[in-house]
């Protein structure tokens, strides 16, 4: 929780990195979330998150790092690599399943979510501070963000924005993979590239901020935006704005009432999505 330092706005010297990283993630994750919403694979985000948690747990159980390393995205490479690899593999498998079998694989996503979450906890039950690590990765404090995370997110954001050059074919692939293939795109290539991108972003976001924040930031702004937008373009503009604004307001509220900012952000965006559903633009 945020220590109260007086005033409505948190002390920038203490929380500046967390606010900056949180805001950037809250604005970027909805873009990946929009692709999954378009493919009707929303729950894959949660499955990727739990798979990453299991990856981190396996690395810890194998002695590739300590619980302390996991508190930072710049922890040991073996530890971070295991979690990221699990996230990337899960993302690619989910996208391939839809391309190859025409199934959103929601049942398998639920299985991965439940199995990976339980297995991670069981693996780390006897490791010092292990259960707390799993708990922290699931819950989202945002407060373990390190200064190096700012640079990582900025580089990732720049690379992601480069991907907008191919936005038309990406959206066509998300909405109508058969036509995207007929136009010459290879479904396997799309699945590998987008799966790797989603896995890396989501795996990193979970490491830096936690599963609840990551899942909420990826999906809730998109669900709210679709009720207030009358076009795809508007949806894709409104969602990041809602995400960024939600983070700033959520952080301020968390500071004011001494609450965990990740949960306040998700609760706030959940309320916004519910209001948007009840009071749509049309």
């Amino acid at each position: 929780m945020l220590a109260q330092s007086g005033g409505f706005w948190p002390d920038w010297a203490l929380f500046g990195d967390a606010i900056l990283v949180g805001t950037l993630l809250a604005m970027l994750l909805p873009l990946g979330g929009a692709l999954l919403v378009l493919r009707q694979q929303v729950f894959v985000t949660a499955a990727i998150g739990q798979a990453a948690t299991l990856g981190f747990a396996v690395a810890l159980a194998l002695g590739l790092g300590s619980a302390h390393d996991l508190g930072h995205s710049h922890g040991r490479a073996g530890l971070v690599g295991c979690g990221m690899a699990a996230a990337v593999l899960t993302a690619i498998a989910a996208l391939r399943a839809l391309s190859a079998r025409q199934s959103t694989m929601e049942a398998r996503s639920a299985f991965v979510f439940l199995f990976a979450g339980s297995a991670a906890m069981l693996l780390l039950d006897r490791v010092p501070h292990g259960p707390q690590v799993v708990q922290r990765l699931f819950l989202s404090s945002l407060l373990t963000v390190a200064p190096s995370d700012v640079g990582i997110v900025l580089v990732g954001a720049g690379l992601s924005l480069l991907g907008l050059r191919w936005r038309r074919r990406l959206l066509l692939w998300a909405i109508d993979p058969a036509t995207a293939s007929a136009h010459g795109g290879k479904a396997l290539h799309y699945d590998l590239v987008v799966g790797a991108w989603l896995g890396l972003w989501l795996g990193y976001a979970i490491l830096a901020t936690g599963l609840v924040f990551t899942f909420g930031a990826a999906v809730l702004p998109v669900l709210a935006a679709r009720s207030w937008a009358r076009s795809l373009r508007a949806s894709l503009l409104i969602a990041p704005v809602l995400g960024g604004a939600g983070l700033l307001v959520g952080f301020a509220l968390a500071h004011r009432f001494d609450l965990p900012p990740g949960q306040v952000f998700v609760a706030l965006l959940g309320a916004v999505a519910a209001v948007a559903r009840l009071v749509p633009a049309r």
């Binding site: 378009l38 074919r169 109508d176 058969a178 937008a229 795809l232």
Partner: protein, 232 residues
């Protein structure tokens, strides 16, 4: 909309001694050539293998044997495709103009995109729907939007897999009439997968008949007979 004329004499779509199917052969020894300006209908009952044949010659399914000709003369940028299954319940609102623009390649100038989208919508008489939300249109309008997305690419070859599904006969005839006009006026080659022999006889120049694992190809009058033609 104007299209670049065909510069070669090779088929725009087709195969030679093709064997196709999903896992096991469904159709064997299929030889079929689609030339510029021809209007083909692929006819057959449900499950006969029409969509499998078309998906294989388009390279969407692996062939089990034989030769498949390069699609649209090897230039897929000049292929327009309307799939059999298209989700219109897209979970995010999308306007007709946005939907049609998704058929275009990336990297085009905004003015080129706008002009291509406008031209495609106008050619099907749905220009007024440009700013409508696709999910709120009727089935007939949605079908036209799908065809417009394929036409926006200014294709030499347009392949439509069951574009008339769930359309009443009047809407189906209107859509086929528009496509036949594009075929005549712009030299567009058309391949339609359909069920209705009468509609095929009324509009197509050639047909592919798929039945009982056999495929026959040829001019419509020859394969469908004057009795059907006269009934339209």
């Amino acid at each position: 909309m104007s299209r670049a004329p065909s510069t070669d004499l090779g088929p725009l779509l087709g195969a030679e001694q093709l064997c196709c199917g999903r896992r096991r052969p469904v159709l064997v020894d299929v030889t079929w050539r689609v030339a510029a300006g021809e209007f083909w209908c692929v006819l057959g009952d449900n499950g006969a293998g029409k969509s499998t044949l078309v998906a294989t010659v388009l390279g969407l399914l692996p062939k089990l044997g034989g030769t498949v000709f390069p699609v649209a003369g090897g230039d897929r940028h000049r292929l327009g495709y309307v799939p059999q299954q298209q989700r219109f319940d897209v979970p995010l609102p999308i306007t007709v103009a946005e939907f049609v623009a998704l058929g275009l390649d990336d990297g085009l100038r905004r003015a080129v995109v706008a002009s291509s989208v406008h031209g495609a919508l106008q050619s099907l008489g749905i220009g007024a729907l440009a700013n409508s939300v696709v999910q709120e249109l009727s089935i007939g309008q949605q079908r036209r939007v799908l065809v417009a997305r394929a036409l926006a690419r200014q294709p030499r070859l347009l392949v439509l897999d069951e574009p008339l599904a769930n359309l009443d006969e009047a809407s189906a005839r209107q859509l086929l009439g528009d496509l036949a006009r594009l075929c005549r006026e712009d030299g567009l080659s058309l391949v339609l997968v359909v069920h209705d022999r009468r509609l095929a006889a009324a509009f197509a120049s050639h047909v592919v008949l798929v039945a009982d694992g056999r495929v026959r190809v040829g001019p419509v009058a020859e394969l469908l007979g004057l009795a059907v033609l006269g009934g339209c």
